[in-house]
């Protein structure tokens, strides 16, 4: 992920081919999967910091009860934009960045199948992000009805909602193009001998994620299009007065929204399934069952959406169906967790930073999975709906899940991408600070939720004060730890010691057969896969 032009290491025959414009035009016109992967990852880093600033503003307001620093309306914009930016700006582009870098390298392809479309799908993102963030400046402020954009609030909201709708359209178009590119690359450009069941698990998880993306991003695009026409063109999809139904928005939204949470976690499953065998010096336990479990999770994700809306007044039969279907997802997820632990079992373990993040992922993601099971129980969910328990749950699976796996992936592949090793001490500090402060931030939210504190509220009753203060302190610690991450990465790219071609002795995927840093063009002749 170097942002500086590649170093010309002696002995790189391939660098002869690296003819590309220099300076900014290199990045604007690039069709190289490695450049685009780098762009995606830096973009998501910037969005991660932007979303983090919003989160810390939220936590500052919640440090004490009462209204201190922001208006309630602006507070609602903060929670809404924090969610949208982190999901569509940070997590999803980071996952696509990993796919751009790693999918061609891991299957022995020279580049992505549609290199120009790849450029386009990245360069849509900065415009969408600008739309989203600039909506803070328009009259009425940014969208404030929550990242889920529920009608009727989103139908009635001000101009900021239109910015959000267009941003979601653009982000959706970008994701769909990225997904089509990834599917085509994986299905058509594998090196001879790389059968589907020989693909690294990261490639498998991304193949399934990409199918989820093309299945549900268009549904989200349809939902926000309906919002737009309800707002401006006199339709009544969600307008009760015109014969529509606001609850229907929730159904359509969550038909997208539930597969979306697996879109955000499956690539992380793939990264963890790559890191664990490397540092356990054992092949992944139960490869085939991992593939089938991933597929099962993806299929089940389409029939559980209404567990997000147990309180809208659906018939008891519906509640029971969605409750059991949701619990069923714990089975393939349990298979995966079991396989990860079994991969480490009796392995020759070492605990470099990528491995620490992978183990932290297993530990905390499993906790988030268990609170998900608790929330799947309809009567319990009716009690906990829209409380901080839900906030704790999805931050355990999204931050300690997706994000920790991405951190691990960055540390794991940075030597390959940049040709430089990161500082192991700093990496370990980053892990332990993140691990501790993450739990200081989000574990108390379970207590707050069980005690009944509602989410998306700028003020709260005084009995919630202590744990909110703890959570706010944790949040600042977590936020500052990420500055350390940025520093560690930048230091590695600039000053890190040269990395060997295969810095991790347990790694066995194709990218480690290439020199470090990886040449600008790779696998122009497909490698032989045994």
């Amino acid at each position: 992920m170097s942002s500086i032009p590649h170093d010309h290491v002696a002995g790189h025959a391939h660098d002869d081919h690296a003819h590309h414009p220099s300076g900014i035009m290199r990045w604007i016109t690039t069709t190289n999967h490695k450049d685009i992967g780098t762009l995606y990852l830096w973009f998501s880093m910037i969005m991660f910091l932007a979303g983090g600033v919003l989160a810390l503003t939220i936590r500052t307001e919640l440090f004490q009860p009462g209204l201190q620093i922001v208006d309630p309306e602006f507070f609602n914009s903060l929670t809404t934009l924090h969610g949208l930016i982190m999901i569509f700006g940070a997590i999803m582009p980071a996952a696509v960045g990993f796919a751009n870098w790693q999918v061609p390298l891991m299957i022995g392809a020279p580049d992505m199948a549609f290199a120009r479309m790849n450029n386009w799908s990245f360069w849509l993102l900065p415009f969408a992000a600008t739309l989203l963030i600039s909506s803070f400046l328009v009259p009425g402020g940014a969208a404030a009805g929550g990242w889920t954009m529920y009608a009727p609030l989103s139908v009635q909201a001000g101009m900021g909602m239109d910015f959000t709708i267009f941003a979601v359209h653009i982000l959706g178009a970008s994701s769909i193009m990225g997904a089509i590119n990834i599917i085509t690359t994986i299905l058509n450009l594998r090196a001879p001998g790389m059968t589907l069941m020989k693909m690294p698990l990261f490639v498998w998880t991304w193949l399934i994620t990409a199918y989820l993306l093309i299945a549900v991003m268009p549904v989200l695009a349809g939902a926000v299009t309906m919002l737009l026409t309800d707002r401006h063109f006199g339709t009544s999809f969600f307008n009760a007065a015109g014969g529509g139904d606001p609850v229907m928005f929730q159904h359509i939204f969550w038909f997208f929204g539930h597969p979306e949470v697996y879109i955000m976690i499956l690539p992380s499953f793939g990264i963890v399934s790559t890191i664990l065998p490397a540092f356990s010096r054992k092949p992944l336990f139960g490869y085939a069952s991992m593939v089938y479990a991933t597929g099962s999770i993806a299929i089940l994700s389409f029939i559980v959406w209404a567990h997000h809306m147990f309180t809208v007044g659906m018939p008891a039969a519906g509640q029971v169906f969605f409750m059991y279907a949701t619990m069923l997802i714990a089975v393939p997820t349990g298979v995966k967790v079991f396989n990860w632990v079994a991969t480490m079992w009796k392995g020759s373990l070492t605990f470099e930073t990528p491995m620490l993040f992978a183990i932290g992922f297993i530990f905390l993601f499993t906790m988030g999975g268990f609170t998900g099971l608790v929330l799947a129980i309809t009567p319990v969910d009716i009690q906990l709906q829209d409380t901080y328990y839900v906030v704790a749950h999805f931050h355990y699976v999204l931050v300690a899940g997706s994000l920790f796996a991405f951190f691990g992936g960055i540390y794991y592949w940075l030597p390959k991408w940049s040709g430089r090793m990161y500082d192991e001490t700093l990496g370990k500090w980053h892990f332990w600070l993140s691990m501790i402060f993450f739990n200081v931030t989000f574990f108390p939210m379970h207590f707050l939720g069980l005690a009944g504190m509602p989410r998306r509220i700028p003020d709260y009753a005084t009995q919630f004060a202590d744990w909110n203060m703890v959570a706010s302190i944790g949040a600042f610690g977590f936020g500052l730890s990420q500055i350390l991450f940025l520093y560690t990465v930048l230091k590695a790219i600039r000053f890190g010691p040269r990395a060997p071609a295969r810095p991790w002795e347990g790694s066995d995927t194709l990218e480690w057969t290439l020199p470090s840093p990886v040449p600008y063009h790779t696998f122009e002749t497909p490698p032989a896969v045994v």
């Binding site: 349809g222 309906m226 007065a241």
Partner: protein, 176 residues
């Protein structure tokens, strides 16, 4: 597998684009599908008259019915003639609301009922209500409209007061 990658890439691209277009349509197709489910399960039948089977009047209890009237961004006047009535469970009762279109244009509205406490709704049986249909008004028309209802004697004993609240929405499609 990779004999003609460019050609096979385009074929796959076309197929995947079809999936995208179909799924975009699917989002919209969920609307009639969802309406059908609501029809079959009766989830949204709030504009149909209720049936009352048991007309036994329970004179041992009196329920206080508080009537409320709201307008959703409409420049109308809308109020109950008597804000509070007292009924026995099982007793047939009638209340009157008055609506006036204060504008210079003909308008159509739809009233949507809600109940407090919410669980009282299923025991509040409306035999006749102006909320069952759209209501059209000529400019400055003032009209009195009735609600005929029975409170089901099965109403839980701890409910002593029911708030019946109507909100009038303008039916957008009838805007002129």
């Amino acid at each position: 597998m990779t004999a003609l990658p460019v050609h096979s890439n385009r074929v796959l691209l076309a197929k995947l684009c079809v999936v995208v277009v179909v799924m975009f349509g699917f989002g919209f197709a969920m609307i009639p599908f969802y309406n059908k489910i609501c029809d079959v399960t009766g989830l949204r039948d709030i504009d149909l008259a209720d049936k009352v089977n048991n007309t036994q009047i329970d004179t041992s209890r009196s329920i206080r019915i508080e009537l409320d009237a709201n307008l959703n961004k409409l420049p109308w006047r809308f109020r109950p003639l008597t804000p509070i009535v007292s009924v026995h469970p099982g007793e047939l009762a009638q209340v009157v609301y008055e609506v006036e279109n204060t504008t210079d244009r003909p308008m159509t509205g739809q009233a949507v009922p809600s109940y407090g406490p919410r669980r009282a709704g299923e025991y509040f049986k409306k035999l006749e209500c102006f909320c069952f249909t759209k209501q059209s008004f000529t400019p400055h028309e003032k009209r009195q409209m009735t609600v005929v209802f029975v409170v089901d004697p099965k109403l839980p004993g701890d409910v002593a007061t029911i708030t019946l609240s109507y909100t009038f929405f303008e039916v957008e499609g009838n805007k002129t």
